[in-house]
């Protein structure tokens, strides 16, 4: 008679808290987070030179403001954003501009980059002692600060944040969803940031809420980060308008449409943005950057990067200056432990393979992974197993779209919703025949958009 059951009310409550929300379908890749999740963020040493790409955001290109031989201070604007959808770039070090020319960036083989030779003594272009009371600022002032600091979405998409916070005429933002899912395997940068700079994130979130005039906010964090959930819940316990929600550890939980579905139960319609359902989604890293930009007037010139992968000797979470060459970071961490197969910027599911280890870190570099040589996998014919259909979070029929793309049938590819693909990679991940489905869908997306443009130009 020693066993005593909890009264039904308690049981019900417990079940409710244990129940985590999520979206439908998706996959469970191995996480590999244990490599770096317990390593505190360390400041990376100053690199001897930085290579800062001018295209680090989605949108219009920038105008360089410096020329060869100019001396720049840390935090100084070195490229101006004239267009609305754009974000300026700041120098991440103090030193001499060595060149403004085309060089490789993580996203392109040749792009305008500013190379700066670093000086040992750092001079700041901003006052580190400044503290602004954001409560006294107007919406416009907050958004201007964000714009001037050059902040872009730091989860990887790199959309200019200030632009996202200006809803079109007639749209009312009700909810800010803060994305702390970090569903990509290996990456732990956001996780560490939530643990070590949770206060900044919450302050940043409050600033964002003020900027977009939202009444409530939800922070979504995957259940594989219980310490981060605990920390932020503790920080938000006196904030009735902010709620911390544990979401299921499932990929791609951090995709904005999936996260909104999980925490709010709203599905953003195809071709629409979260704005259309009155939601703004921001990454936790972006919120921390917003705090720095608005309260401390510090531009975005460094960020947390997870360095990991089975071929890297010593994984780490580093605070890295934008433009730091990848190779410098590899050497700082003791080089490689085995033969290198791939170098990736970002996570293994959506990251971009790099051909040149000399490229510089960008504002969207959440991680740099070095993976060992793997046996190439043979591609088989599609056997209609439907794994891609059963796992696609957007409910697309990947195998059909890929088949149409391979045979240049673009109208059919569009009819099957190719443009809705979020390129999360679930279909390619589960495909037993190793068909590069995402690759073919990307081809289809590009071609469909090209054709649409051609048709428009003809008119």
């Amino acid at each position: 008679m020693g066993v005593r059951f909890p009264p039904p009310a308690v049981l019900k409550k417990k079940r409710k808290t244990l129940k985590t929300r999520t979206f439908k379908q998706g996959i469970h890749p191995e996480e590999f987070k244990e490599l770096s999740e317990n390593l505190a963020i360390q400041e990376a040493p100053l690199p001897p030179k930085v290579i800062i790409p001018l295209r680090q955001h989605i949108g219009a290109p920038l105008q360089p403001l410096v020329a060869k031989g100019d001396r720049v201070k840390t935090g100084q604007v070195i490229a101006r954003a004239d267009a609305f959808v754009s974000a300026p770039v700041h120098s991440s070090v103090t030193g001499m501009v060595k060149s403004v020319s085309n060089a490789a960036s993580p996203l392109s083989a040749s792009d305008t980059c500013i190379e700066i030779q670093t000086e040992e003594v750092e001079e700041l272009d901003f006052d580190p002692a400044v503290v602004v009371d954001y409560q006294s600022l107007s919406t416009k002032q907050i958004i201007d600060s964000i714009r001037q600091a050059g902040i872009v979405g730091m989860g990887g998409a790199a959309f200019p944040t200030a632009v996202k916070f200006i809803p079109p005429e007639g749209v009312k933002i009700q909810t800010v969803v803060l994305n702390g899912c970090e569903c990509e395997p290996f990456l732990t940068a956001d996780h560490r940031l939530m643990l070590e700079a949770g206060e900044n994130i919450v302050s940043g979130l409050k600033i964002i809420m003020k900027a977009v005039a939202a009444e409530k906010a939800i922070i979504g964090i995957e259940t594989n980060k219980p310490d981060a959930i605990g920390k932020l819940t503790e920080l938000c316990k006196d904030e009735p308008s902010i709620r911390v929600r544990a979401v299921k550890t499932k990929y791609p939980q951090g995709a904005e449409k999936m996260l909104i579905d999980a925490v709010l139960g709203i599905r953003v319609p195809p071709g629409k943005l979260p704005l259309h359902v009155g939601v703004v989604v921001s990454n936790v890293g972006t919120a921390a950057a917003v705090y720095e930009a608005v309260v401390k007037k510090i531009p975005l010139y460094k960020r947390v990067v997870t360095l990991s992968g089975d071929a890297l000797s010593r994984p780490a979470n580093l605070m890295v200056r934008i433009g730091t060459p990848f190779s410098f970071l590899f050497e700082h961490l003791g080089g490689f432990s085995k033969e290198v197969g791939k170098i990736l910027m970002g996570g293994p599911m959506m990251g971009v393979a790099q051909f040149n280890p000399e490229v510089g870190v960008t504002k969207a570099t959440s991680g740099i992974l070095v993976v060992g040589k793997a046996k190439p996998r043979k591609e088989y014919n599609c056997i209609n197993c439907a794994e891609c259909v059963h796992n696609c979070p957007m409910f697309l029929v990947a195998t059909k779209i890929a088949r149409y793309a391979r045979n240049d049938i673009w109208d059919k590819a569009e009819e099957y919703g190719a443009l809705n693909c979020i390129e999360c990679g679930c279909c390619s991940f589960v495909c037993p025949s190793n068909i590069p489905l995402v690759h073919w869908i990307r081809v289809a997306k590009n071609r469909i958009i090209e054709i649409k443009k051609e048709v428009k130009d003809k008119k």
Partner: protein, 320 residues
């Protein structure tokens, strides 16, 4: 240090799941083994020889066609021809002449699969194409059934439980049907074995659960209604479920990935269609069993089903 790096450039994702096509195929082969063993137990070397012959001919035919089509011949090891060979043998009478077994297996691969373009492109289940060919060409041999004779030499012809019910209203006890000690095809007599391995197949996610579930529930509902109307004429629903080729067909033939729908709703409609056709043939048709024709018939609807049951895209609303 980084000068000697030649990293690989590839489109994301850079992480891959564990499943591979040969692994899927060989898992199915492994799950078919208990039925092969049961077939040999019930029908002795007769069964063993036919299973081996059918599989060997299937692989040889695959090899010849790949060679003729100038394709990568290593594809014979992807496991799909092995499945076709074994599945065909399991659906054949244990005393079918060896020449006919070989011919059926050849037709299965040649006409059922390779003429369409090989793995992934066939419209019909290859093993069933082979069996349908044999049924049409050698109707007498294909309907001569023997009692399980274990390893004795003398074989006594008998009726299958479904044939017995249909032609002489003679009901075989359910327990016998369930365990498999009845007349029938090499690998179809023991319902319990197929049920167990079939459930494992579904749990391992090597087949779409919607297909067998919708087939079996349709058969249960259909025969349940008939049984309620006239319990004298129509047997217990369980009898219809566990006798004949329904178990093997439902778990292993209808779920053949290549020739079944890829959309969830399509799979359900496909399954219901098979269930209905099976019962219509069994009750109203001239043949005692209709699983083969039911599956082949529904196979032909798969492209149509895939087209009209495309899942609604995330966030898509009706009538917008």
């Amino acid at each position: 240090m980084t000068d000697q790096l030649y990293p690989v450039l590839e489109s994301s994702p850079h992480l891959k799941g564990r499943k591979s096509t040969p692994q899927v195929m060989y898992t199915v082969v492994a799950l078919l083994m208990p039925m092969c063993v049961a077939g040999v137990y019930f029908f002795g070397t007769h069964a063993l020889v036919r299973i081996l012959l059918s599989t060997a001919v299937a692989m040889i035919t695959e090899f010849v066609f790949l060679k003729l089509r100038k394709k990568d011949i290593s594809a014979i090891w992807d496991g799909s021809a092995v499945i076709t060979g074994i599945l065909l043998a399991l659906t054949l009478p244990p005393t079918l002449p060896l020449f006919e077994v070989a011919l059926g297996s050849m037709v299965a691969i040649a006409i059922g699969k390779q003429v369409f373009g090989g793995i992934g492109f066939n419209i019909f289940n290859p093993a069933l194409v082979g069996r349908a060919f044999l049924q049409a060409s050698f109707p007498l041999d294909m309907t001569t059934w023997v009692k399980p004779f274990f390893f004795r030499l003398d074989s006594i012809t008998t009726a299958t439980p479904l044939g017995g019910l249909k032609f002489s209203n003679d009901l075989t006890p359910l327990k016998k049907v369930f365990l498999g000690n009845v007349g029938g095809s090499i690998g179809e007599t023991s319902a319990i074995l197929i049920l167990i391995t079939g459930v494992i197949l579904l749990l391992m996610k090597m087949a779409d659960w919607r297909i067998p579930v919708s087939i079996f529930s349709t058969v249960l509902v259909f025969s349940g209604i008939l049984h309620l109307i006239d319990p004298q004429k129509y047997a217990d629903p369980m009898f219809y479920l566990f006798s004949g080729s329904l178990m093997l067909g439902g778990f292993y033939m209808a779920t053949d990935m290549v020739s079944s729908p890829i959309t969830p709703l399509g799979s359900v409609i496909f399954g219901i269609g098979i269930g209905l056709m099976v019962m219509i043939i069994r009750i109203f048709g001239g043949l005692p069993e209709g699983v083969m024709f039911a599956i082949l018939f529904m196979n032909s609807f798969v492209p149509l089903l895939n087209r009209y049951t495309r899942p609604r895209i995330f966030g898509e609303v009706k009538n917008e």
